[in-house]
């Protein structure tokens, strides 16, 4: 049942994306408002799907937070992207933000729901994953990833010419907020992951490819913050670093699965 709801969410996000595109093309605010409302509706449905999956896992006698395999991580990643979009950009009546953000949420859900290589079944947890630190680790990491996705979107928007100054000021503000949120959460994700590794494997850091790539991504964003402070305003090279950082996020999440290590999803 939960997978049916979550598959439906994919199409709601697609619809929201189309509405935002139409709003940008026509310049009419009504389409933009409709896009935001559809995105909000999709978000509620998405949240309900995740909660239902949690309840269903309890009914199946396995009872664990839906954050334990590749499918569940994709669903949560998409949820986090939409959640932060609503938090940061709800008041911004700008279709272009939604037109950038919603396809990310849509593609993550589409990949989770329709790729034959992603198993959507609820499975019991292996002993290593039975830890409350897992829940904190996954939530902080993916909220951090989502904030970095939004930071890149806002970064690209600051480079787009022809914007009115009021809007670009607001976008720069949202960019800073997303970068700050992402950096705090991602750092917390690394720290909670270290605590979990200490509990599960007896060492807080082991240079596993996922750990190493998380550090690489963290170093890129640390560099981005220093460049942002030095330049005083979102500069071109700052945005380029943000985009490189997003590539780091993508590799930490997906790419590492192709390298041998303890974090590969099953």
């Amino acid at each position: 049942m939960n997978t049916t709801i979550l598959s439906a969410v994919t199409f709601v996000y697609l619809a929201s994306f189309v509405l935002f595109i139409v709003s940008e093309a026509t310049g009419k605010g009504g389409w933009e408002k409709a896009g935001r409302l559809v995105a909000l509706g999709g978000f509620f449905l998405h949240t309900a799907g995740i909660v239902l999956r949690w309840v269903e896992s309890h009914h199946a006698g396995m009872g664990h937070a839906p954050l334990s395999n590749f499918y569940e991580s994709l669903v949560f990643f998409s949820w986090a992207v939409v959640f932060l979009y609503l938090v940061y950009a709800w008041r911004q009546a700008s279709g272009i933000i939604g037109a950038f953000v919603m396809p990310v949420a849509f593609l993550l859900m589409a990949y989770a729901s329709f790729s034959p290589s992603v198993d959507s079944q609820i499975k019991p947890l292996i002993p290593a994953l039975k830890s409350n630190w897992l829940i904190v680790h996954v939530i902080t990491c993916f909220l951090g990833y989502a904030a970095f996705v939004l930071a890149s979107v806002f970064g690209i928007m600051t480079l787009m010419k022809g914007d009115n100054p009021g809007r670009s000021g607001a976008v720069a503000g949202m960019l800073d907020n997303c970068l700050k949120t992402g950096y705090i959460l991602f750092t917390l994700g690394i720290v909670t992951g270290s605590v979990w590794a200490h509990m599960a494997w007896g060492r807080y850091w082991g240079w596993d490819p996922k750990e190493t790539w998380a550090l690489i991504t963290w170093l890129i964003y640390t560099g981005a913050i220093h460049v942002r402070i030095r330049d005083g305003a979102p500069s071109r090279r700052f945005v380029i670093i943000l985009i490189i950082g997003l590539a780091g996020v993508a590799f930490t999440y997906f790419g590492v699965n192709y390298l041998p290590g303890l974090h590969s999803y099953q």
């Binding site: 292996i126 002993p127 950096y183 705090i184 750092t187 060492r203 190493t212 550090l215 560099g223 220093h226």
Partner: protein, 451 residues
Amino acid sequence: MSEKDKKGAGGKGVRLLRGLASLRITEAILLWIALMCIAATVIPQAPYRPTAGVSPAGRVMMLLSLKDVFHSLWFLAPVAVLALNMSACMWVRMGRRGSTRGGAMPRTSLSEVNLPAGSDLERVMEGLRGLISAGRAPAVRDREEPPVLMGEKGSLRRFAPLLVHGSIFFILVGVALAFTGFKGTVEIPEGETRDVATLYDGTPVHLGFALRCNAFDIEYYKNGMPKEYRSRITFIRNGRSEQEKSVLVNHPVSFQGILFSQSGYNQLAEASLTVEGPSGAQSLLAVEGSMIEVEDTPFRIHVMRVVQDMMRMGPGVQLLVEGSESRQVLWLFRDIKAISKRYPGITDKVPQFNPSLIKPYTFVLDGVTMRNTTILGVNRDPGVPFVAVGAVLFIAGITMIFLMAHERVWVLVERDRGGLKVTLARRINGRPVPVDVHLVERVKGLGGRSS
């Protein structure tokens, strides 16, 4: 020191310090460390190579090798430079920010308000004091002539960059201390005691106490997947049992500063044998991979394989019996009589199956039992508390940097053409910024009221 920096002249030392504190160096080093990390995930890594017996030249080569990036000069040297860069930066930049220098009224982004003639200086000053201290605790600092008022809030924020960068040093100290510890495993069959762990580079380490594995249990889900691994361990020191603990995945146990975590398990096949000879019969326990010296016989037995069911012929064991002049492989089966009945003459066709092949002895396999062995991770890392404190301070520091603002507002009052000229200035996190319009409006109101 900060006074010297201010003047900008300074000696060679100060110039070097300023050069080292450059953000460009920070960016370059972060990039280099990131590239090294990428190299470590692309080039297959072979850490934990034994160093015993390696020549000094060999050790230098190991230090330069990219096969163990994180222990190589290519990684450790830039980390050391980063530490220097951060120290210099903390000394030069943040020392300056933390000092009173930033307390001076800025000369840019000023707002001026002219109050009309007849405005009462005392009343205006009182009003300004009230305005400035509103929401900006603790309050107002009066200066000497001309009177300047300053109100500030969030003053702790200026120490946050020091906190963040200082916390990295805690982490680096913790990481350095990890080199004084060790990482390895210990494998203990159920019911047995071990006091030596094997490090990842193969070196054995005496723990100074012993562990007995009283039991190792696996719980399964209905679908057969493992649900829980549990080792019941007794810690024994000087022959006395001191503690009995269960080690589970995600629930490690610490004893004498060493952390034991449930890392894996094995199943050990164990065969009970009887060797019958001219001087009588001897019972032996044979574990796969072990070597047994049999008393009153000329040979040693290498236990090659112990199998619970060998090709549907029941329990079997493969031995290499090594005499003073000959070597002979034997396959012993517990049910050799039944096998001989099923396949008449098999012990002649396959002499290895003949339990009496090595005369005048007869080898009998009494049975094979499976015994669980637990594999525990053994880690001693005295740096963990430092890393933990560093991580907590780092998070506290970045949260302060991102969520707090250190705001200071200055007001300078001067007599001007019979009236009063009020100059307002504001800094947020050390940078001059325009004064809040509402504040300017309220200052204008002060003059109006008094006239």
